[in-house]
Symmetry: C2
Subunit: 148 residues, 2 copies
């Protein structure tokens, strides 16, 4: 029961489209029983395959947008140290370690007016030492969001 099979993957895809479906509804969609769905859900949570049940809000309607800060740290700097330093900042919402042109990607939740947004980004950048290069992209629209 430890391995992830095709039905697990289907279940994950269905949940990524609607994470509020009941076990009964999931069972109907996947052509199985409620008990089997319950068992699979337990497994997926236990194995950490499902990290979180969450939502995608319309940030603009809430007065916010994402600013994505793309950072390349100086050589020899430990990315995990920097991540620890910024993880608790309230407006820091997503932190991703990267391989490639940038090695740290940070999503900030900022006011949707560009002035307020820039202020917040500058405040954030001041808190990180050892930046070799940093670029910022303000997300003006999320056109597709499928997760998996």
């Amino acid at each position: 029961m430890r391995k992830i099979d095709k039905v697990d993957l289907q279940l994950i895809k269905v949940l990524s489209q609607n994470s509020r479906l009941t076990y009964r509804e999931l069972a109907e969609i996947l052509g199985t029983t409620r008990q089997r769905i319950a068992r699979r859900m337990e497994k997926l949570k236990k194995l950490g395959v499902i990290r979180k049940f969450t939502i995608l809000p319309d940030f603009e309607k809430l007065g916010y947008m994402y600013a994505i800060v793309l950072i390349k740290l100086k050589p020899l700097i430990d990315v995990d140290d920097v991540i620890n330093d910024i993880a608790d900042i309230e407006y820091v919402k997503v932190i991703e370690k990267g391989i490639g042109k940038y090695n740290l990607l940070v999503h900030l939740l900022v006011p949707k007016d560009l002035h307020g947004a820039e202020e917040k980004v500058n405040e954030f950048l001041k808190r990180i030492k050892d930046i070799e290069e940093a670029d910022v992209v303000f997300v003006s629209k999320i056109s597709k969001f499928e997760i998996i």
Copy 2:
């Protein structure tokens, strides 16, 4: 009833941490009634403030990772045309319009081995004409994921 108030925002935050909570559980957390939660949920969905109830899987455990392609299109190219062209590609999971160094950010779901990943990214890049500049970052770890 059309405006988003503080309780709505609280509700959204709670749901972003656990989108499977029942109306009864949400009512308990927010100190209100199930009926009032139901009414607020209807409103938030109707207004499009909640776009989707979804999950965050552990991509690595499923054999995948995200490749984020950062694109600056040539001047005068309509970003929306490009978005229409790529929106239906199965492995294209997130499409964001940006303001700043890049004007288009695309998350691809790719195999977690770098070889397979690069192949997929190259396949994708060939489908977009009118790129002025493109950079790629492979996400090796998602350290924080709070949404809002």
